[in-house]
Amino acid sequence: MKISYYPGCTLKTKAKNLETSAIASMEALGVEVEELDRWNCCGAVYSLSDDDLIHQVAPVRNLIRAKEQGADKLVTICSMCYNTLARANLVMKENEEKRDTINSFMDDEIDYFGEVEVVHLLTYLKEQIGWDKIREKVKNPLKDFKLAPYYGCTLQRPNTVGIEPLGSFEIMTELLESLGANVLDFSASDTCCGSYQVIGNQDLSQTASAKILGTACASGIEALATSCPLCEFNLGKQQGELLKQELIPRSVPTFYFTQLLALALGVDDDACKFELNDSSTVEYLKSKNYP
Protein backbone atom coordinates (compact mmCIF):
# COMPACT_ATOMS: atom_id res chain seq x y z
CA MET A 1 0.00 0.00 0.00
CA LYS A 2 1.09 3.54 -0.71
CA ILE A 3 -0.34 6.82 0.56
CA SER A 4 0.01 10.39 -0.67
CA TYR A 5 0.98 12.48 2.33
CA TYR A 6 0.72 16.20 3.12
CA PRO A 7 3.10 17.12 5.98
CA GLY A 8 2.50 20.87 6.53
CA CYS A 9 5.02 23.38 7.91
CA THR A 10 5.19 22.40 11.57
CA LEU A 11 5.95 18.72 10.92
CA LYS A 12 9.09 19.80 9.07
CA THR A 13 10.29 22.08 11.88
CA LYS A 14 9.02 22.05 15.49
CA ALA A 15 7.10 18.77 15.28
CA LYS A 16 9.60 16.54 13.47
CA ASN A 17 8.81 13.92 16.12
CA LEU A 18 5.23 13.74 14.82
CA GLU A 19 6.37 13.16 11.24
CA THR A 20 9.25 10.72 11.83
CA SER A 21 7.25 8.55 14.25
CA ALA A 22 4.30 8.45 11.83
CA ILE A 23 6.39 7.50 8.80
CA ALA A 24 8.33 4.82 10.71
CA SER A 25 5.07 3.37 12.06
CA MET A 26 3.46 3.28 8.63
CA GLU A 27 6.52 1.49 7.23
CA ALA A 28 6.27 -1.06 10.04
CA LEU A 29 2.61 -1.57 9.04
CA GLY A 30 3.60 -2.11 5.41
CA VAL A 31 2.48 1.27 4.07
CA GLU A 32 4.74 3.36 1.88
CA VAL A 33 4.39 7.10 2.56
CA GLU A 34 4.89 9.33 -0.46
CA GLU A 35 5.22 13.03 0.35
CA LEU A 36 3.25 15.35 -1.90
CA ASP A 37 5.49 17.09 -4.40
CA ARG A 38 5.68 20.93 -4.25
CA TRP A 39 3.29 21.33 -1.32
CA ASN A 40 2.80 24.72 0.39
CA CYS A 41 1.46 25.98 3.74
CA CYS A 42 -2.29 25.33 4.05
CA GLY A 43 -2.87 28.59 5.96
CA ALA A 44 -3.29 26.83 9.36
CA VAL A 45 -6.85 28.12 9.90
CA TYR A 46 -9.82 27.90 7.55
CA SER A 47 -11.05 31.32 6.49
CA LEU A 48 -14.35 32.01 8.26
CA SER A 49 -15.24 35.11 6.20
CA ASP A 50 -17.66 34.39 3.39
CA ASP A 51 -16.18 36.97 1.01
CA ASP A 52 -12.57 35.93 1.59
CA LEU A 53 -11.68 33.49 -1.16
CA ILE A 54 -8.00 34.38 -1.46
CA HIS A 55 -7.21 32.37 1.68
CA GLN A 56 -8.74 29.26 0.07
CA VAL A 57 -6.11 29.39 -2.68
CA ALA A 58 -3.28 27.93 -0.54
CA PRO A 59 -5.16 24.80 0.63
CA VAL A 60 -6.78 24.25 -2.78
CA ARG A 61 -3.38 24.45 -4.50
CA ASN A 62 -2.25 21.47 -2.37
CA LEU A 63 -5.35 19.52 -3.38
CA ILE A 64 -4.58 20.31 -7.04
CA ARG A 65 -1.03 18.96 -6.53
CA ALA A 66 -2.54 15.71 -5.19
CA LYS A 67 -4.95 15.47 -8.16
CA GLU A 68 -2.08 16.08 -10.62
CA GLN A 69 -0.13 13.26 -9.00
CA GLY A 70 -3.05 10.89 -9.43
CA ALA A 71 -3.92 10.56 -5.73
CA ASP A 72 -7.53 9.92 -4.77
CA LYS A 73 -6.74 10.37 -1.07
CA LEU A 74 -4.46 12.87 0.66
CA VAL A 75 -3.43 11.81 4.16
CA THR A 76 -2.56 14.47 6.77
CA ILE A 77 -1.46 14.11 10.39
CA CYS A 78 -1.55 17.65 11.81
CA SER A 79 -5.12 18.32 13.00
CA MET A 80 -5.06 21.96 11.86
CA CYS A 81 -3.86 21.07 8.36
CA TYR A 82 -6.52 18.37 8.20
CA ASN A 83 -9.29 20.79 9.13
CA THR A 84 -8.14 23.54 6.75
CA LEU A 85 -7.65 21.22 3.78
CA ALA A 86 -10.88 19.28 4.39
CA ARG A 87 -12.99 22.45 4.72
CA ALA A 88 -11.45 24.04 1.62
CA ASN A 89 -12.14 20.77 -0.20
CA LEU A 90 -15.81 20.96 0.80
CA VAL A 91 -16.07 24.46 -0.69
CA MET A 92 -14.64 23.16 -3.99
CA LYS A 93 -16.99 20.18 -3.95
CA GLU A 94 -20.23 21.88 -2.91
CA ASN A 95 -20.15 25.59 -3.74
CA GLU A 96 -20.27 26.05 -7.50
CA GLU A 97 -19.96 29.83 -7.49
CA LYS A 98 -16.91 29.90 -5.22
CA ARG A 99 -15.33 26.95 -7.05
CA ASP A 100 -15.64 28.73 -10.40
CA THR A 101 -14.08 31.91 -9.00
CA ILE A 102 -11.18 30.03 -7.41
CA ASN A 103 -10.55 27.92 -10.51
CA SER A 104 -10.59 30.92 -12.83
CA PHE A 105 -8.31 32.90 -10.45
CA MET A 106 -5.74 30.08 -10.57
CA ASP A 107 -5.60 30.00 -14.36
CA ASP A 108 -2.11 28.47 -14.29
CA GLU A 109 -3.50 25.35 -12.57
CA ILE A 110 -5.80 22.54 -13.72
CA ASP A 111 -9.45 22.95 -12.66
CA TYR A 112 -10.35 21.28 -9.39
CA PHE A 113 -13.78 20.01 -8.32
CA GLY A 114 -13.10 18.42 -4.93
CA GLU A 115 -12.09 15.04 -6.36
CA VAL A 116 -9.38 14.28 -3.78
CA GLU A 117 -10.50 12.98 -0.37
CA VAL A 118 -8.70 14.55 2.61
CA VAL A 119 -8.10 11.83 5.22
CA HIS A 120 -6.65 12.10 8.70
CA LEU A 121 -4.10 9.42 9.59
CA LEU A 122 -6.30 8.22 12.49
CA THR A 123 -9.16 7.52 10.06
CA TYR A 124 -6.71 5.81 7.69
CA LEU A 125 -5.43 3.57 10.49
CA LYS A 126 -8.96 2.56 11.43
CA GLU A 127 -10.39 2.05 7.94
CA GLN A 128 -7.44 0.87 5.87
CA ILE A 129 -5.22 -0.93 8.40
CA GLY A 130 -7.63 -1.97 11.15
CA TRP A 131 -7.11 -2.51 14.85
CA ASP A 132 -6.66 -6.28 14.50
CA LYS A 133 -3.61 -5.88 12.27
CA ILE A 134 -2.14 -3.24 14.58
CA ARG A 135 -2.72 -5.53 17.59
CA GLU A 136 -0.86 -8.33 15.77
CA LYS A 137 2.10 -6.08 15.03
CA VAL A 138 2.53 -4.74 18.58
CA LYS A 139 5.88 -5.82 20.02
CA ASN A 140 5.96 -3.70 23.18
CA PRO A 141 2.41 -3.44 24.58
CA LEU A 142 1.84 -0.22 26.53
CA LYS A 143 0.65 -2.17 29.57
CA ASP A 144 0.13 -0.16 32.76
CA PHE A 145 -0.11 3.06 30.73
CA LYS A 146 -3.16 5.03 31.85
CA LEU A 147 -3.85 7.26 28.87
CA ALA A 148 -6.59 9.45 27.44
CA PRO A 149 -7.12 10.73 23.92
CA TYR A 150 -7.01 14.51 23.53
CA TYR A 151 -8.81 15.51 20.33
CA GLY A 152 -8.86 19.29 20.76
CA CYS A 153 -11.01 21.25 18.32
CA THR A 154 -10.00 20.68 14.76
CA LEU A 155 -10.31 16.87 14.57
CA GLN A 156 -14.01 17.08 15.40
CA ARG A 157 -15.42 20.50 14.66
CA PRO A 158 -17.30 21.47 12.61
CA ASN A 159 -19.14 18.19 12.10
CA THR A 160 -18.94 18.52 8.29
CA VAL A 161 -15.26 17.53 8.51
CA GLY A 162 -15.02 15.89 11.96
CA ILE A 163 -13.34 12.48 11.94
CA GLU A 164 -16.15 11.22 14.18
CA PRO A 165 -19.35 12.62 15.74
CA LEU A 166 -19.23 15.25 18.46
CA GLY A 167 -18.64 13.74 21.89
CA SER A 168 -17.26 10.47 20.51
CA PHE A 169 -13.57 9.68 20.93
CA GLU A 170 -13.63 6.12 19.66
CA ILE A 171 -10.93 6.14 17.01
CA MET A 172 -8.05 7.22 19.22
CA THR A 173 -9.43 5.23 22.16
CA GLU A 174 -9.50 2.04 20.04
CA LEU A 175 -6.02 2.75 18.70
CA LEU A 176 -4.55 3.20 22.20
CA GLU A 177 -6.37 0.06 23.41
CA SER A 178 -4.94 -1.91 20.47
CA LEU A 179 -1.50 -0.83 21.66
CA GLY A 180 -2.25 -2.38 25.05
CA ALA A 181 -2.90 0.82 27.03
CA ASN A 182 -5.65 1.43 29.56
CA VAL A 183 -7.78 4.26 28.24
CA LEU A 184 -9.63 6.38 30.78
CA ASP A 185 -12.67 8.63 30.27
CA PHE A 186 -11.64 12.23 29.81
CA SER A 187 -14.30 14.92 29.91
CA ALA A 188 -11.93 17.62 28.56
CA SER A 189 -10.95 15.66 25.45
CA ASP A 190 -12.44 18.23 23.07
CA THR A 191 -11.97 21.38 25.16
CA CYS A 192 -9.81 23.95 23.35
CA CYS A 193 -6.20 24.26 24.59
CA GLY A 194 -6.09 28.01 23.91
CA SER A 195 -4.87 27.58 20.36
CA TYR A 196 -3.32 30.59 18.59
CA GLN A 197 -3.90 32.87 21.60
CA VAL A 198 -0.49 31.67 22.80
CA ILE A 199 0.83 34.38 20.46
CA GLY A 200 0.24 37.68 22.22
CA ASN A 201 -2.32 36.51 24.84
CA GLN A 202 -0.37 33.77 26.58
CA ASP A 203 -2.31 34.09 29.85
CA LEU A 204 -5.43 32.95 27.99
CA SER A 205 -3.87 29.81 26.57
CA GLN A 206 -2.34 29.02 29.96
CA THR A 207 -5.74 29.33 31.65
CA ALA A 208 -7.30 27.05 29.03
CA SER A 209 -4.49 24.48 29.16
CA ALA A 210 -4.38 24.43 32.99
CA LYS A 211 -8.09 23.55 33.12
CA ILE A 212 -7.62 20.64 30.71
CA LEU A 213 -4.53 19.27 32.49
CA GLY A 214 -6.24 19.75 35.89
CA THR A 215 -9.18 17.65 34.66
CA ALA A 216 -6.72 14.97 33.48
CA CYS A 217 -5.04 14.89 36.92
CA ALA A 218 -8.40 14.64 38.71
CA SER A 219 -9.41 11.76 36.40
CA GLY A 220 -6.31 9.68 37.21
CA ILE A 221 -4.96 10.08 33.68
CA GLU A 222 -1.18 9.69 33.55
CA ALA A 223 -0.52 10.94 30.02
CA LEU A 224 -2.31 12.29 26.96
CA ALA A 225 -2.20 11.45 23.26
CA THR A 226 -2.79 14.14 20.63
CA SER A 227 -2.34 14.74 16.91
CA CYS A 228 -1.96 18.53 16.87
CA PRO A 229 1.41 20.30 17.24
CA LEU A 230 -0.30 23.39 18.70
CA CYS A 231 -2.12 21.30 21.33
CA GLU A 232 1.19 19.55 22.09
CA PHE A 233 2.85 22.93 22.51
CA ASN A 234 0.15 24.44 24.76
CA LEU A 235 -0.45 21.31 26.86
CA GLY A 236 3.02 19.76 26.70
CA LYS A 237 5.80 22.28 26.24
CA GLN A 238 4.07 24.94 28.37
CA GLN A 239 3.62 22.51 31.27
CA GLY A 240 6.83 23.50 33.02
CA GLU A 241 5.54 27.05 33.31
CA LEU A 242 2.11 25.86 34.54
CA LEU A 243 3.80 23.73 37.21
CA LYS A 244 6.02 26.62 38.26
CA GLN A 245 2.97 28.86 38.69
CA GLU A 246 1.23 26.00 40.58
CA LEU A 247 -1.67 26.07 38.12
CA ILE A 248 -1.57 22.26 37.84
CA PRO A 249 -0.86 19.69 40.61
CA ARG A 250 1.46 17.39 38.59
CA SER A 251 2.82 16.88 35.11
CA VAL A 252 0.72 15.12 32.47
CA PRO A 253 3.16 13.97 29.76
CA THR A 254 1.74 14.77 26.33
CA PHE A 255 2.63 12.47 23.42
CA TYR A 256 1.73 12.40 19.75
CA PHE A 257 -0.41 9.32 19.06
CA THR A 258 2.15 8.34 16.41
CA GLN A 259 4.94 8.23 19.03
CA LEU A 260 2.92 5.80 21.15
CA LEU A 261 2.17 3.75 18.02
CA ALA A 262 5.87 3.67 17.04
CA LEU A 263 6.87 2.76 20.60
CA ALA A 264 4.41 -0.16 20.73
CA LEU A 265 5.35 -1.37 17.24
CA GLY A 266 8.98 -1.45 18.38
CA VAL A 267 10.34 0.70 15.54
CA ASP A 268 13.75 2.34 15.81
CA ASP A 269 13.86 4.64 18.89
CA ASP A 270 15.33 7.47 16.82
CA ALA A 271 12.01 7.84 15.02
CA CYS A 272 10.15 8.86 18.19
CA LYS A 273 12.41 11.80 19.10
CA PHE A 274 10.96 12.12 22.62
CA GLU A 275 13.65 14.70 23.32
CA LEU A 276 11.54 17.15 21.28
CA ASN A 277 8.58 16.72 23.67
CA ASP A 278 8.31 18.10 27.18
CA SER A 279 10.93 16.34 29.40
CA SER A 280 8.17 14.71 31.49
CA THR A 281 7.48 12.32 28.58
CA VAL A 282 10.97 10.79 28.87
CA GLU A 283 10.64 10.50 32.67
CA TYR A 284 7.25 8.86 32.26
CA LEU A 285 8.61 6.26 29.83
CA LYS A 286 11.48 5.51 32.22
CA SER A 287 8.99 4.96 35.03
CA LYS A 288 7.35 2.33 32.79
CA ASN A 289 10.74 0.72 32.11
CA TYR A 290 11.01 1.97 28.56
CA PRO A 291 14.48 3.11 27.53
Binding site: T13, V45, S195, Y196, Q197, I199, G200, A208, K237
Partner: protein
Protein backbone atom coordinates in the same frame (compact mmCIF):
# COMPACT_ATOMS: atom_id res chain seq x y z
CA UNK B 1 -26.60 45.91 32.26
CA UNK B 2 -28.96 48.66 31.06
CA UNK B 3 -28.66 49.54 27.40
CA UNK B 4 -30.41 52.47 25.74
CA UNK B 5 -31.46 51.67 22.21
CA UNK B 6 -31.93 54.75 20.06
CA UNK B 7 -31.93 55.44 16.32
CA UNK B 8 -28.55 57.12 16.89
CA UNK B 9 -26.72 54.11 18.31
CA UNK B 10 -28.28 51.33 16.22
CA UNK B 11 -27.23 50.49 12.69
CA UNK B 12 -29.08 48.28 10.21
CA UNK B 13 -26.01 48.54 7.95
CA UNK B 14 -23.95 46.87 10.69
CA UNK B 15 -26.32 43.87 10.80
CA UNK B 16 -26.18 43.67 6.98
CA UNK B 17 -22.37 43.86 7.03
CA UNK B 18 -22.20 41.04 9.61
CA UNK B 19 -24.38 38.95 7.30
CA UNK B 20 -22.23 39.79 4.28
CA UNK B 21 -19.03 38.77 6.07
CA UNK B 22 -20.28 35.73 7.97
CA UNK B 23 -23.24 34.47 5.95
CA UNK B 24 -25.04 34.18 9.28
CA UNK B 25 -28.18 35.94 10.47
CA UNK B 26 -27.81 37.11 14.07
CA UNK B 27 -31.60 37.59 14.17
CA UNK B 28 -32.03 33.81 14.38
CA UNK B 29 -30.55 33.84 17.89
CA UNK B 30 -33.13 33.12 20.62
CA UNK B 31 -30.80 34.03 23.51
CA UNK B 32 -30.70 30.57 25.10
CA UNK B 33 -27.06 30.98 26.19
CA UNK B 34 -25.83 27.56 25.05
CA UNK B 35 -22.89 29.29 23.32
CA UNK B 36 -21.85 30.95 26.57
CA UNK B 37 -22.20 27.71 28.55
CA UNK B 38 -19.89 25.84 26.16
CA UNK B 39 -17.39 28.65 25.43
CA UNK B 40 -14.04 27.98 27.16
CA UNK B 41 -13.32 31.72 27.15
CA UNK B 42 -16.67 33.18 28.26
CA UNK B 43 -15.41 33.95 31.78
CA UNK B 44 -12.53 35.95 30.30
CA UNK B 45 -14.73 38.06 28.02
CA UNK B 46 -16.12 41.58 28.70
CA UNK B 47 -19.37 40.31 27.20
CA UNK B 48 -20.17 36.63 26.87
CA UNK B 49 -21.12 35.24 23.42
CA UNK B 50 -24.88 35.40 24.14
CA UNK B 51 -24.63 39.12 24.97
CA UNK B 52 -22.49 39.76 21.89
CA UNK B 53 -25.22 38.17 19.78
CA UNK B 54 -27.88 40.24 21.56
CA UNK B 55 -26.10 43.56 20.92
CA UNK B 56 -25.47 42.52 17.32
CA UNK B 57 -29.20 41.81 16.85
CA UNK B 58 -29.92 45.46 17.66
CA UNK B 59 -27.07 46.73 15.46
CA UNK B 60 -25.28 48.26 18.47
CA UNK B 61 -21.97 48.60 16.65
CA UNK B 62 -20.42 51.17 18.98
CA UNK B 63 -21.14 49.14 22.09
CA UNK B 64 -19.35 46.15 20.57
CA UNK B 65 -16.41 48.12 19.20
CA UNK B 66 -14.42 48.31 22.44
CA UNK B 67 -15.26 44.83 23.75
CA UNK B 68 -12.59 42.15 23.98
CA UNK B 69 -14.95 39.19 23.42
CA UNK B 70 -14.10 38.45 19.79
CA UNK B 71 -10.38 38.89 20.47
CA UNK B 72 -10.55 36.25 23.23
CA UNK B 73 -12.45 33.86 20.94
CA UNK B 74 -10.37 30.77 20.07
CA UNK B 75 -12.36 29.83 16.93
CA UNK B 76 -12.78 26.44 18.60
CA UNK B 77 -16.32 26.07 17.20
CA UNK B 78 -17.75 24.71 20.48
CA UNK B 79 -20.60 27.25 20.18
CA UNK B 80 -21.14 26.60 16.48
CA UNK B 81 -21.69 22.86 16.87
CA UNK B 82 -24.10 23.28 19.78
CA UNK B 83 -26.24 26.26 18.72
CA UNK B 84 -29.84 24.96 18.60
CA UNK B 85 -30.67 27.61 15.98
CA UNK B 86 -27.83 26.45 13.74
CA UNK B 87 -25.95 29.76 13.80
CA UNK B 88 -22.23 29.48 13.05
CA UNK B 89 -21.29 31.81 15.90
CA UNK B 90 -17.55 31.36 15.23
CA UNK B 91 -18.19 33.05 11.87
CA UNK B 92 -19.99 35.97 13.56
CA UNK B 93 -16.97 36.43 15.87
CA UNK B 94 -14.69 36.33 12.82
CA UNK B 95 -16.81 39.01 11.13
CA UNK B 96 -16.45 41.25 14.21
CA UNK B 97 -12.66 40.80 14.06
CA UNK B 98 -12.60 41.46 10.33
CA UNK B 99 -14.51 44.73 10.76
CA UNK B 100 -11.54 45.99 12.79
CA UNK B 101 -8.71 44.28 10.87
CA UNK B 102 -9.99 45.59 7.54
CA UNK B 103 -9.43 49.16 8.72
CA UNK B 104 -5.71 48.32 8.70
CA UNK B 105 -5.48 47.89 12.47
CA UNK B 106 -3.58 45.07 14.14
CA UNK B 107 -4.70 43.53 17.43
CA UNK B 108 -1.23 42.10 18.04
CA UNK B 109 1.95 43.60 16.63
CA UNK B 110 4.23 41.00 15.03
CA UNK B 111 7.24 43.32 15.49
CA UNK B 112 6.67 43.30 19.27
CA UNK B 113 6.82 39.51 19.61
CA UNK B 114 10.07 38.53 21.37
CA UNK B 115 12.69 36.69 19.31
CA UNK B 116 12.67 33.64 21.63
CA UNK B 117 8.94 33.15 21.00
CA UNK B 118 9.48 33.22 17.24
CA UNK B 119 12.32 30.73 17.65
CA UNK B 120 10.46 28.28 19.88
CA UNK B 121 6.77 28.43 18.95
CA UNK B 122 5.30 26.10 16.32
CA UNK B 123 4.65 27.53 12.86
CA UNK B 124 0.90 26.88 13.08
CA UNK B 125 0.73 29.15 16.15
CA UNK B 126 2.35 31.97 14.19
CA UNK B 127 0.39 31.53 10.99
CA UNK B 128 -2.94 31.09 12.81
CA UNK B 129 -2.28 33.96 15.26
CA UNK B 130 -1.30 36.39 12.50
CA UNK B 131 -4.25 35.32 10.36
CA UNK B 132 -6.67 35.97 13.22
CA UNK B 133 -5.19 39.06 14.84
CA UNK B 134 -3.33 41.11 12.24
CA UNK B 135 -4.64 43.02 9.23
Amino acid sequence: MTVSITPQNTSIDFIDKLYELSGESVNLCMQCGTCTATCPMSEEMDLNPRKVMHLAQFGLLEMLADKNSYWKCLSCHSCTVRCPRGIDIAKVMEALRQLVLRTNKNFIEPSQIPAEIIKEYPQIAMVAGFRKMTS
